[in-house]
Subunit: 152 residues, 2 copies
Amino acid sequence: MLGRLYDGQNCSIARTLELVGERWTLLIIRDALLGVRRFDQFLTSLGIARNVLSDRLDRLVESGILERTQYQERPVRWEYNLTDPGRELALPVLALMQWGDRHLAGPNGPPRLVRHTICGGGVAQQHLCTNCGPVPGAELAIVAGPGLHTAS
Amino acid sequence: MLGRLYDGQNCSIARTLELVGERWTLLIIRDALLGVRRFDQFLTSLGIARNVLSDRLDRLVESGILERTQYQERPVRWEYNLTDPGRELALPVLALMQWGDRHLAGPNGPPRLVRHTICGGGVAQQHLCTNCGPVPGAELAIVAGPGLHTAS
DNA sequence: CCCACTCGGTTTCGTGAAGCAACTGACGTT
DNA sequence: AACGTCAGTTGCTTCACGAAACCGAGTGGG
């Protein structure tokens, strides 16, 4: 994504997209969620240019979504692991996947499934009301919050 | 996002991002979810260039996420409404917002809240197991699905 | 000892998308 | 007649992306 900044928007979506909204970034996070950790693995898995991958990994480390750790000395080798905030991005990423599964999947069904490791059940992403449980999209309202009209 | 295509990836996330992963696109959908419908409203709300907005709206209409309807004759005026698939994008978009609220919010709290119109309760996005209900991110496994190894 | 190869990048350079400003054109208002 | 609004299009500049070459530390083979 060019420029990558969205100035003058008091919006958590815009702020989040400034970190993960560039081209490739969410796919890098998807790969990280699937267990990819090393530079060359990302490279072959994504088909991304090396300089762009280098840039994105640096930025993700800088914003606290990935952690760069040395897994070998002589020669020095690094790997990139998701931090806790990074792992929380599974929710929006899998929600995008779920949408694609529903609207863009091929004839053979979705390429990947999400399972609950404890019971083996299928997992979906949903809106959940604190009182009522799952909520259909039609029953949602987005309203002003406390941080809306503050200089930032 | 440049090029905007992610070739050779059998992945619903990549396919979804080819439609909505370009710069500005998810913010246009956010605005549409907030009730913005007209060209100039998007323009002033986003601070986007006119030609880019024109391009994004065309592409979103083409991919069935927005609908272009005439709301006035003489002069002809159009508005852009979300389709049902488009409204379903509230889930990933609000999940991104929720992540931003948690990790990037200012001192005054989140700028926007999601409420359940029926009961007025707060709404959050969550992983939901078909057997167990809400699932923490640490208990998820992403496994191969039926559509993984098919020529596409 | 020399050559090839791996991993994890950096450098260089051409292309093309984004951003800005100006223009268009149909209409409405004063 | 002059001005304003809405919904764009056109032209120009800038900057991010993509491809390929290069780099440096180390491993393995002959």
